[in-house]
C-alpha cells in the first residue's frame, strides 16, 4: 500500500533529509540567490559577503580597502629601543639604548632632562623618596627616607665647577679644606661630652667631698678644651705633694714624636681659696692632669696644695686646653 505518493507526486513532508543521498542535490536544485559566481577579494579588496537566516550567501562584493605601506626598522637588533625617523614608514633601532626586560641601558650619549619649570626632573623610589631637581637658579637633592650615603673607596671632593679647584676633600685622614692634602691638617674628629674632674695630690692621700664637680669637654681634631667647675664641700684629708686637677677626658700628647702635649689652664673664677692672685694651670704632656699654681715668685709659678690653698666651700672655675696624640 502506497501512502506517500499519489497522482500529483510525492506528498508533503514525505521526503526526509535522511532519505536524500549525499551529494544528490545539485546546483540546479538550489534556489537562485542572484549572487554572481566569481572570486571575491584581492590585495586591495576584501570580500563583503551577506548571509541570510538559512545560511545562504545572498550577496557578494569586493570592497576596496586602504592597506598601509610596510614599516622598515633600520639598525634593529635584540633589545634596542625603537625611535622614529624623518622618513615615512621608517624607524630606527638605537644601538646606544637597550632594554632587556631588567635593565635599561644608555651606552652612548646622555640623558637630558630639560624641563626646569615643573619641579623634580628625576624621582627615584616607589614613592619618589629620592629626587633631583634643577630650577633656573639652583640644584636640589631631596630625600624623604633614611640617610643619604655617599660611598667611595677613594677621596670624596667638592670642587669648583670652573677650573676644578678643590674646596673640600674627605679622605681617610678626615676633612681637608681648600686644596690641602696634608694628613696633619685633616679634621678627623669632633666630640662633645662630660667628665668628672677631681682634686688630687701628687703624693696621694687626699680625700675631698664636692658640692659641685662638673667637667665638659669639646674635642676638635687633636685639640681638647675643657670647662671645669669644682666646688669643695669638705676636705677630709689633705694628702701630700702638689695639687692638680685630675680626670681630664683625654691623655695629653707625649713628647715621643708627637710634639709637646703641654696645655694651659686659665682660671675664670675663684672663690674662697688661698694663694692670692693669678691662679693658673699647666697640663703636663702625656698626662690627664692639670697642675695648679697660684702665682709667680721670682719668675716661677708656685705650686698649690690642698692643705694651704683648697678650702672647704672653696670654688674654682677653670678652662683647660691641650693637645692629644
Amino acid at each position: 500500500m502506497v501512502t506517500r505518493i499519489d497522482t500529483d507526486g510525492i506528498k508533503d513532508l514525505a521526503v526526509k533529509t535522511a532519505k536524500i543521498d549525499n551529494d544528490a542535490v545539485g546546483p540546479d536544485q538550489l534556489a537562485d540567490t542572484a549572487v554572481t559566481a566569481g572570486s571575491y577579494g584581492s590585495n586591495t579588496h576584501i570580500p563583503e559577503i551577506t548571509i541570510d537566516a538559512q545560511g545562504r550567501i545572498t550577496a557578494a562584493n569586493a570592497a576596496a580597502v586602504s592597506i598601509p605601506a610596510g614599516t622598515t626598522i633600520n639598525n634593529n637588533a635584540d633589545n634596542r629601543v625603537i625611535t622614529g625617523s624623518g622618513t615615512a614608514n621608517t624607524l630606527n633601532g638605537e644601538s646606544g639604548v637597550t632594554y632587556d626586560g631588567t635593565n635599561f641601558t644608555l651606552s652612548s650619549g646622555r640623558l637630558n632632562l630639560t624641563d626646569e619649570g615643573n619641579g623634580q626632573q628625576l624621582s627615584i623610589g616607589a614613592s619618589g623618596d629620592f629626587n633631583i631637581e634643577h630650577d633656573s637658579n639652583h640644584t636640589y637633592l631631596g630625600n624623604n627616607t633614611g640617610d643619604i650615603v655617599i660611598q667611595n673607596d677613594a677621596n670624596v671632593k667638592i670642587t669648583a665647577k670652573s677650573g676644578g679647584t678643590q674646596r673640600f676633600r674627605f679622605d681617610s685622614d678626615g676633612l681637608k679644606f681648600g686644596t690641602d692634602t696634608a694628613a696633619a691638617n685633616a679634621l678627623d674628629d669632633y666630640e662633645e661630652g662630660s667628665f668628672t674632674p677631681v682634686y688630687a695630690m701628687s703624693g696621694g692621700g687626699q680625700n675631698v667631698d664636692y658640692h659641685d664637680q662638673q667637667g665638659q669637654y669639646v674635642k676638635i681634631g687633636k685639640f681638647v678644651h675643657c670647662s671645669i667647675h669644682l666646688r669643695i664641700d669638705t676636705v677630709h684629708a689633705n694628702g701630700s705633694g702638689i695639687a692638680f686637677i685630675g680626670g681630664l677626658p683625654f691623655q695629653g700628647a707625649s713628647n715621643t714624636g708627637q710634639g709637646p702635649g703641654y696645655g694651659t689652664g686659665a682660671v675664670g673664677y675663684i672663690n674662697g681659696q688661698g694663694g692670692g692672685d693669678w691662679w693658673h694651670g699647666y697640663v703636663e704632656q702625656g698626662q690627664t692632669a692639670c697642675y695648679l699654681y697660684y702665682g709667680v715668685s721670682s719668675g716661677t709659678s708656685q705650686n698649690v696644695n690642698i692643705a694651704n690653698y683648697l678650702y672647704n666651700a672653696g670654688s674654682l672655675r677653670i678652662s683647660i686646653s691641650y693637645q692629644i696624640t
Partner: protein
C-alpha cells in the same frame, strides 16, 4: 612607645707609651628601638689606676697592656713630673 636607656663603652683606646686606657662611656636613649640621643662621658685609666669597679671588657684591656714594665715606667715618669713641677 617604649623609651630605654643603655650604657655602652663604645671606645676603649690604648694611648701612648704608658698605655693609658681612654674610655668613652656612651649613654644611649632609644625609642622603640631607634636611637634618639647618645651622650658621652670620658675618663682615662693609667697603670696605677684602681680598676676593680671597671667593666670586664675594660679590665681585660688594662690587664693586657699594663705589664710590670709599663707600670714601672709610668711610676718613674710620674715621679719625674712631680719632681720637675714641685717648686
Amino acid at each position: 612607645m617604649a623609651l630605654s636607656e643603655s650604657i655602652e663603652y663604645d671606645k676603649i683606646e690604648v694611648v701612648g707609651q704608658y698605655k693609658a686606657v681612654q674610655v668613652r662611656k656612651a649613654t644611649v636613649i632609644q625609642k622603640d628601638g631607634k636611637e634618639l640621643t647618645r651622650s658621652f662621658e670620658r675618663y682615662v685609666l693609667h697603670p696605677d689606676s684602681n680598676i676593680i669597679s671597671e667593666p670586664n671588657e675594660i679590665r681585660a684591656v688594662c690587664n693586657a697592656v699594663w705589664t710590670q714594665e709599663v707600670k714601672d715606667a709610668w711610676k718613674a715618669y710620674q715621679e719625674s713630673v712631680y719632681q720637675k713641677l714641685t717648686k
